[in-house]
């Protein structure tokens, strides 16, 4: 793209609340005292289950919903307080893409991408050049005159992304943008978002219910549950040492470390009388992720280890491993101390007789 690099804007949620009035009376709180700082130029994911309030959080950033408490600052501007023309000006600085694309069926690919420029009152000669640029960026040169009904899901989302970028926004909001796509297409769309973030330096805030999306592109993550931010930080740190049970349950889906059913069924929270096995979750982070720690444990302390489940993958560029193991509960303290000493994180999940 011909434009000079544009700096993204930060997004700050300050004790934000959003309450809806129910049709039959009464109030539902969708977001409650949520505070979060989204760094300028970073890709941040908000993850939560449906109904957790993540969509409301996102829609407050461009004023599609108005907060009922607290403040939202986009590049220092208070979105909740903006009205009319001032709000529309902020919205031109914030692009948005949607799960169901929301493309106009009556307009071609080029026409859809031109829409935000027409809305902004850009002269038509400029629109033409800009649209051609954007179409090229998202790799749809051959589809320029096609209608959305003739495109695949991935192509539709590329149009959505080009449209969101048309007014050169400082922030891009992604509302479950890959949830309607198959895994392969998801990867190409995520890669496109990554490239855009790198090339244009704009801030990307995305919401998702899939930890895999966060792992693949987000440098920062916030976990939302019942309208509250329960955990937030760098993706790597949250993956390596999740604090909240919700975060852990999201992680177990993506890290491939769910307990086998036959163990889960027999597991107890408290130590059993007599000989028993301790089930432990071990996290390998950074440079330790590839060390043969379990072999060393057996060699140095003579403790036999059962491997129940495990996976090693990459977050960003750093390796990251998860293992579920069990060993003799009598030697548990000793074994865990040894692993901790070598920079691994351990967590006792329970005991099996």
């Amino acid at each position: 793209m011909s434009d000079p690099k544009k700096q993204g804007a930060s997004i700050v949620f300050q004790a934000v609340g959003k309450a809806f009035v129910k049709p039959g009376g009464g109030v539902v709180s969708a977001v409650d005292e949520a505070s979060l700082t989204v760094e300028a130029g970073a890709i941040t994911g908000i993850i939560g289950r449906s109904g957790a309030g993540k969509s409301t959080m996102l829609r407050m950033v461009n004023g599609l919903e108005r907060p009922t408490a607290g403040k939202i600052l986009v590049g220092g501007q208070d979105v909740g307080a903006a009205r009319g023309a001032a709000l529309r000006a902020i919205r031109r600085d914030v692009g948005m893409i949607f799960q169901h694309f929301n493309l106009l069926a009556s307009r071609t690919v080029a026409g859809n991408i031109a829409l935000p420029l027409e809305v902004a009152g850009v002269p038509s000669a400029k629109i033409k050049a800009r649209v051609a640029d954007l179409i090229h960026r998202v790799g749809l040169d051959a589809q320029s005159d096609r209608y959305p009904a003739e495109l695949s899901g991935g192509q539709k989302q590329r149009v959505g992304i080009a449209r969101a970028l048309a007014t050169e926004p400082k922030v891009l909001l992604s509302d479950e943008a890959t949830s309607a796509l198959d895994p392969e297409t998801t990867q190409t769309v995520l890669q496109l978002l990554k490239d855009i973030n790198r090339d244009l330096g704009l801030t990307i805030l995305l919401i998702t219910h899939e930890m895999a999306v966060v792992r693949d592109i987000a440098s920062h993550v916030a976990v939302i549950e019942g309208g509250k931010i329960v955990e937030a930080g760098k993706t790597y740190d949250v993956f390596a040492a999740p604090q909240h049970p919700t975060t852990r349950s999201f992680l177990s889906g993506v890290t491939g470390v769910t307990l086998p059913a036959f163990i889960k069924g027999r597991m107890h929270d408290a130590r059993l009388p007599g000989p028993c096995e301790e089930v432990v979750h071990v996290t390998f982070a950074g440079k330790h992720a590839t060390d043969p720690m379990l072999a060393l444990l057996t060699r140095d302390l003579g403790i036999a280890v059962n491997i129940l489940a495990g996976a090693i993958e990459e977050i960003g560029t750093e390796p990251f491993g998860n293992l579920l193991i069990s060993f003799d509960a009598d030697k548990g303290d000793q074994a865990r101390a040894y692993l901790e000493q070598h920079g691994l994180l351990t967590e006792v999940l329970g005991y099996v007789g």
Partner: protein, 224 residues
């Protein structure tokens, strides 16, 4: 059938076309904004004016509940005010238009309401004004349905136009009643009916053809 009668039939056909075309155009010019407003002014919608919406809704329903033949007679003073006379083909355009406005408004309202709310949200997120959303999103997206709705309106107006003979509006319906019924000329009646059938058929086909032309929702040639 005498040359005289054939002349009458041709004149009557033109009169019908004139009344229907004029009332369709006027009814659309006035019914389109009304329909768009009805579709976008409930509480929480783009133009959110819940009370005006309710009042206009009541007026539209009231107008639509009056049988057309009664409307024609009831508004004779109004017709005289607008058209300068209450008798004749041009005068008949007034009640026809008055009946067309609420009918077309409801058809347009329904067509606009069918547009996916996600598109309105996307346009709002772009920073579009309510008027831009209406002009650039809602009306173009609803165009296939609007076209079919207007086709239905034209067909209905062809039917209504047969009743304006009651106030001296001429046209095919009037000819059928005066010659076919009152002067016992069943052949005139038959020809009038045939012309009306052909007209309606033609209007319907043209309407559907245009609607298909402007409808980009289904890919062509892939049989959806």
């Amino acid at each position: 059938m005498s040359a005289n009668l054939i002349g009458l039939l041709i004149d009557a056909t033109w009169q019908t076309l004139y009344m229907v075309a004029a009332s369709t155009v006027l009814g659309t010019v006035l019914g389109l904004p009304l329909g768009v407003f009805l579709a976008t002014s409930q509480r929480g919608e783009l133009l959110s004016r819940p009370w005006v919406n309710k009042v206009l809704g009541l007026v539209v329903n009231a107008t639509r509940s009056v049988p057309f033949i009664i409307l024609v007679v009831a508004i004779i003073p109004f017709t005289r005010m607008i058209a300068g006379t209450s008798i004749g083909t041009t005068a008949a355009i007034v009640p026809l238009t008055l009946a067309a406005i609420p009918f077309i408004a409801r058809l347009i309202e329904n067509a606009i309401r069918e547009v996916d709310s996600g598109l309105i949200e996307a346009a709002r997120a772009m920073g579009a004004t309510p008027m831009q959303i209406i002009r650039k999103v809602l009306i173009p997206e609803a165009l296939p349905s609007i076209t079919l709705g207007l086709t239905l309106a034209v067909v209905s107006l062809i039917g209504y136009s047969a009743m304006v003979g009651a106030v001296g509006g001429e046209g095919l319906g009037d000819l059928g009643i005066r010659y076919g019924y009152q002067r016992f000329m069943p052949d005139v009646m038959a020809v009038v009916v045939v012309i009306l059938v052909v007209l309606v058929q033609l209007v319907q086909s043209i309407g559907e053809w245009i609607a298909a032309k402007v409808d980009k929702r289904a890919p062509k040639g892939r049989g959806q």
